[in-house]
Amino acid sequence: MIIDTNVYVSRWPFRRLPGDEIPELLAKLRSHGVSQAWAGSFDGVLHEDVAAVNERLAESCRTLGQGLLIPFGTVNPMLPDWQEDLRRCQENLKMPGIRLHPSYHGYTLDDQRFFDLLRQAVEKKMVVQLALNMEDERTQHSLARVSEVDTAPILRLLPKVPGLRLVIQNRRRKPSGKLLGRLSYHGEVYFDFAMLEGVGGIARFIEEVPGDRLLFGSHYPLFYFESALLKVKESELSKAQRDAIFNGNARLLLEP
C-alpha cells in the first residue's frame, strides 16, 4: 500500500500529460497499489482565482476521486485576503493541508506574509506542502522561468512556528548539507524524493535526514509515476524503511 503525497490534477499549463484526466490518473495509481494520493491542482500554479481552483479541486476529488484523492488547496499569500482562501480550504472544503508554490507566486520564504500563513496554518492544524520546483530550470518555458525556492529562511522560522508540519517537495539541490539535517531535527519537516537524483539516492538521503521524515512523492502526472517507485527499489532499504516511506510516515503525519 502506498500513500503518494505529491500528485496533481487538472492541466499542466505547457503540455498535455498522460494521466491528466482523473480516471486515467486513478487507474495508474491503483495499478501500483496507491491507496491514497494527496492532490494539488496545476491550476494553482498560475491562476489568480485560487478560490475557484480550490473549489474545483475539492469537487473533483469528491466526485471522481473514488476515495483515493485527498485535496490540498492552493494559497497565494501575495494575493489580497489570502486568509479567506485558507479559511475556506479548511472550513468549507475540509482540506487537511495546503500546497504552496512560492517561486510561481513571487515571494521568498523570509517574507512576513509567508510567516503569517505558516502561523495560521498551524492554528488550523493544516499540513503545509512547499513545492520548491515544478520542473528542471533548464527546460522551463522561456517566458515562464522561475528559480528553485531558497529554503535557508525556514530554519529561522521553525522556532517561531511551533507545531508546524511542513513537507518540502521536489527538492533538487537545496537545502543541502548541514541545513538539510538541521531542518529535520529542529522541526517537524518532511521531504519527498520526486526530484531526488543520483544512484541509490534514497539510501544516501536517509543518512542525512531521519528515515521517518521521508515521504513517497511521485510528482505524477508531470513525472512518470514509476520514477519514484523504482527509486525505492534501487536503494537497499529494510522492509521497515520501505514501509515507512511507502505509507507509514505519511499516515502518521496526517493523524490528528
Binding site: T139, H141, V199, F223, Y224, L229
Partner: protein, 261 residues
C-alpha cells in the same frame, strides 16, 4: 533485456576504477540492467580536455572494463580541439583496443567540420557515435551544441548512424530537430522523467530510433528507466528502446572484436 547507453563513474563509491565498477554493477543488478556503456573517467570531467587528460580518463575506463567485458563496454572520450591526437586515441582505444564507441561532449560545437574526421574514422570500424546535446533556457556552455546544431552534423553524414545525447534535454525541441534525419537515434538519458517524453518520441520517430540510457550515477537508473517502463507504449516498443536498438547498433563492432552480445 536492458542495455544502458549512458553510465559514468559519478556517485559510485570507490577509490579505484575497479571499485567503482564493482559498485556500478551492483546497482545495475538491482535494476536488472544486463549491460551498460561506460565513458568519461573520474569526475570532475574536463570540458576541453588536453591530450594528457584524455589519455588518463580513457585509461580509467579501460582499467574498469578489464574484468567486466561481459557486463559493460567502453566509449572513448575525444576532443575535436585536439584532432590529430583524438584520431590516434581512437585507434588506441577502439580500433586496436576493446572500446566500441565514441563520446563527444562540449569541447567544441558539433556542427564544426573538425568533427567530420572523427565521425568518419568511427564509422570505418562501426563504432557507435554519441554526441552530447542540450538546449538550455538558462544558456548553454560555450562549446555545448543544441540538437539543431547536431542535426547539421548528422546531415553531413546521412549514411552514418549517430546518437543525439539527451535529446537536447528539452525533448520537445530535440525530437523536432532530429526528426527528419533518419540516421539519428536519440538517447533519452539525463533529464527529468517528464511524463510523455517517450510516447512523443515513439510517435514522431518510431521506436527503432530511441535508446534507453540513464546518465547514472549522477542520475538514478530508476528515474530514467521509468521513462520507458512507465510509458504508454507497446511492450514490443519497450523492448526495442530498453536494449534491442542499442544491441543492433553495436552488433557489427562487437562481432568484429569477438565480444559476445
Amino acid at each position: 533485456m536492458i542495455w544502458d547507453l549512458h553510465v559514468h563513474f559519478s556517485n559510485f563509491e570507490g577509490r579505484t576504477p575497479h571499485e567503482k565498477m564493482a559498485n556500478a554493477v551492483k546497482f545495475a543488478d538491482r535494476m536488472a540492467i544486463e549491460r551498460f556503456m561506460l565513458y568519461l573517467g573520474f569526475p570532475p570531467h574536463p570540458e576541453d580536455p588536453t591530450p594528457e587528460e584524455l589519455t588518463k580518463i580513457n585509461n580509467q575506463v579501460l582499467e574498469a572494463l578489464q574484468h567486466w567485458h561481459h557486463r559493460a563496454f567502453g566509449f572513448v572520450y575525444l576532443n575535436p580541439n585536439h584532432l590529430e591526437f583524438s584520431l590516434k586515441e581512437f585507434d588506441r582505444c577502439v580500433r586496436d583496443g576493446p572500446m566500441v564507441g565514441v563520446k563527444l561532449w562540449i569541447a567544441r560545437k558539433c556542427n564544426t567540420p573538425e568533427l567530420d574526421p572523427i565521425v568518419e574514422r568511427a564509422a570505418s570500424v562501426n563504432a557507435v557515435i554519441f554526441q552530447h546535446t542540450w538546449v538550455k533556457v538558462t544558456g548553454n556552455r560555450p562549446g555545448e551544441c543544441t540538437p539543431s546544431e547536431f542535426a547539421e552534423l548528422a546531415a553531413r553524414h546521412p549514411d552514418i548512424p549517430i546518437i543525439c545525447g539527451h535529446t537536447g534535454g528539452d525533448w520537445e525541441h530535440g525530437i523536432r530537430a532530429v526528426r527528419a534525419h533518419k540516421n539519428v537515434s536519440i538517447g533519452i538519458a539525463g533529464s527529468d522523467p517528464t511524463n510523455g517524453f517517450v510516447e512523443t518520441a515513439v510517435r514522431e520517430l518510431g521506436p527503432q530510433r530511441i535508446i534507453y540510457g540513464s546518465d547514472a550515477g549522477g542520475r538514478s537508473f530508476a528515474s530514467q528507466l521509468a521513462k520507458v517502463q512507465g510509458a504508454n507504449i507497446s511492450d514490443e516498443a519497450k523492448k526495442l528502446i530498453l536494449g534491442e536498438n542499442l544491441k543492433r547498433m553495436l552488433a557489427p563492432i562487437l562481432k568484429r572484436k569477438g565480444f559476445e552480445a
